[in-house]
Symmetry: C2
Subunit: 451 residues, 2 copies
């Protein structure tokens, strides 16, 4: 058995309530200073940090020897008395050490420094995520998702977990990962929960949400793309059109961002230098045609006539921010040519979809649309794309036995955090990054680096 604690653990954040008392603190060593007469160490736990001191007792001083042997990162528990120390930055107190348990001695030196490049921070997540500013990203993620779910639950949404192993691909085939399924057939990793959240609509679930992984074999390496990312998805039945969906999304986002501002606003400002601004509703809205005119007027010609490119998205958001002071803008009514075959089109404008994207500070965070729920029309739009119907048939079958009108959207969690926290890459707001090249898959090449 490992040593049984003689005292229950006290978190460093509440030590102020224990001045004069003996406590047991547990955490990782942040720094050790071994001076002639005194030893100082900083211990960090999930709640904060504390300075621990020990006055050397000359020759036979096993505690001094223990402290002298400590390395940054080592996991220890210290029992000692809490003393007021107005001069000490960390809470104006310190712990006078009595005993120390060493649970894990860290190799020295650590493989990365606080100022190492992002690439190295990602290679050594177990070390880089110890930084309070990096852990904050995932505390914010926790609060953000909880607030989003509260919004969904208050509106009777049903939570689903759709399968990630599929018999066909849910978006375009080019970016689907292939899985060998018992040597019986090839399965594909879901690029989104699209097909199955629509199936839930046919099943009469009416309102569903899912937070889960999505997989895209993105050949390109950009600050906005991961080959695996966490999608925030919702689908709603009996929506009249995409404007109803956008109204829902802006309400949902404003609610979640307000919660983050309330819980973490000050710490985000202090640690990340970002200001969380709770958006007003409704959000600004422009059609793609209007968006392109705005972008062209800034002197940039979008790469495609039926879509916006990243530069165009940045310029559009900059224009909207100047004109309205708003960080968000919905871009609506994309040409059918630029959207998935299942996006609903206007009855009187079959070349235009009831699809929308949401941009935040120049970054696309959402793609959504009213869906085509009519079997014959959906089938015709698949044929028009030149898709083979046989593999699509199980999806098309969802619509053969009755399906209400519906729509929904998919939102990238890491992109929302990137925009919310003013980060420059989704890699900073993703727990474990997955990209091409595959060096960060936990590959042998990594093992060799540390061999």
């Amino acid at each position: 058995m490992q040593p049984t604690p003689t005292l229950p653990r006290t978190l460093t954040a509440v030590l102020g309530e224990h001045i004069g008392a003996r406590v047991r603190v547990c955490g990782l060593v942040e720094a050790v200073r071994d001076q002639k007469r005194m030893q100082f160490l900083v211990l960090a736990d999930g709640s904060g940090q504390v300075q621990v001191i020990h006055e050397k007792r000359g020759e036979a001083d096993p505690l001094a020897a223990q402290i002298a042997a400590l390395t940054p990162g080592s996991a220890i528990a210290v029992i000692g008395r809490v003393a007021s120390a107005p001069g000490v930055k960390l809470g104006g107190l310190e712990i006078i050490a009595e005993t120390l348990e060493l649970h894990s001695l860290a190799d020295s030196p650590l493989p990365i420094a606080p100022d190492s490049a992002l690439e190295k921070q990602i290679d050594w997540r177990a070390v880089s995520l110890r930084r309070p500013d990096q852990r904050l990203v995932f505390r914010v993620q926790t609060t953000l998702e909880a607030a989003m779910r509260d919004w969904w639950l208050a509106r009777d949404f049903i939570e689903i977990h759709s399968p990630k192993l599929m018999g066909t691909f849910s978006e375009s085939g080019a970016e689907a990962f292939k899985v060998a399924y018992f040597g019986e057939r090839t399965a594909y990793l879901a690029q989104s929960p699209q097909f199955y959240k629509q199936m839930a609509m046919a099943a009469g679930f009416e309102r569903v949400f899912e937070i889960g992984p999505a997989f895209r074999a993105e050949p390109s390496f950009t600050p906005r793309h991961e080959t695996e990312f966490t999608g925030l998805d919702m689908e709603i039945a009996w929506t009249a059109d995409h404007h109803e969906l956008m109204a829902l999304e802006e309400s949902w986002l404003a609610h979640a961002i307000a919660r983050v501002a309330e819980v973490h606003g000050a710490e985000i400002r202090e640690r990340l230098g970002a200001e969380v601004i709770v958006p007003t509703t409704p959000f600004p809205k422009v059609t793609l045609a209007e968006a392109q005119a705005i972008v062209r007027a800034t002197g940039h010609t979008p790469a495609k006539s039926d879509d916006l490119d990243p530069e165009g998205e940045r310029r559009l958001c900059a224009h909207i921010a100047r004109a309205t002071g708003h960080q968000f803008v919905f871009v609506t009514d994309y040409p059918a040519s630029a959207r998935a075959f299942y996006h609903r089109r206007y009855d009187d404008r079959p070349d235009l979809t009831q699809g929308f994207d949401l941009l935040w500070n120049g970054l696309e965070i959402t793609t959504g649309a009213q869906r085509e729920h009519r079997y014959d029309t959906l089938r015709a739009q698949a044929i028009e794309r030149g898709y083979a119907l046989d593999p699509l048939q199980p999806y098309l079958d969802f619509f053969r036995y009755g399906c209400p009108p519906h729509g929904g959207m998919g939102v990238g969690l890491a992109r929302v955090l990137m925009a919310l926290l003013g980060r420059s890459s989704v890699r900073e707001t993703t727990f474990i990054s997955r990209t091409r090249p595959s060096r960060n898959l936990g590959a042998k090449s990594d093992a060799k680096k540390v061999g």
Copy 2:
């Protein structure tokens, strides 16, 4: 554009508040009865059902023609006046139809009947999930997960989303699905979030949870196994041993089950014939050695000397239920030979792990353990298993730069629902089933079935 609603939608559940008023109800047709003078249809939405009636007006009666053409499953909106009708089972009211919008006409007949075999129910989820008893399973899932998250959030857990694409396998290799990663290398689908929730411990996150998919290339087809399932995972730092973990799990489960009983207890009894019993804590606990003695005493010899087989699990739970009246039992202290190499062993009994399983009504729903957090010991235990260290090195590296003692558990969501709702297969409590054989992957074979 599709017809703009002339009235906002009213849910059938609240029609009682609208007697005498004109309303718009939206849903799927459950049944149509076309009589000489009268037409009756039952419309179902997410909140309930209502009877809609129409008195035929002889020759020129387009509404009568619309109703006559309806098929079960068709998606419609009806505008009409709500009338009190004490004789009518569905809420003692009916809607006298004025206009009807047909949004989607269902093929007839439906591919399955309410009494079709489970296999067919699973083949046609878009239809089978329309049954209120089947939808209830996922409404319960929604409530259960929300309550579990509330418990975690009240205790400062951080929510993580660990990658499902891995460079090596997280459990035993035999059951890992292989993914071609850009033709550069082979990736594996995560069999659990094990490695990365432990990495979070080394990173000082201290308490994490994740709800997400796990993938096991289960060659066998049993009522307890899916090749893809939703895992409920948590990991906690600074735990003294597995008894601390079991105390946390029973508190977490009791909280979540109490919430389900409160919100859905009556409906679960009525629709599924199951009684939700909120467990008392602590749960009964036996060591594996004790469990095997109990099972042998019932006249069954477990297939393995270091584990329980399904029959043994059923007999143990039956015994505990008789002896204590409790539906749950923890089985602890498994031999190292039966557990993963990362399970912590007793310092004075290196052949025994601080690992546990939780059984509920004869079904294993949890595997958990205090983990081995010491790099050298963990590495030695991997070598003892004969594992190649090179692919494991990125995992082992998590422990090289300091890691607190920790432990955690993984719980199968569909199994919890199976035990909670008294179902006989996880297929009934899984949104979309994934098993071998691969017929239910949305395969071409399905398409052929419906030509």
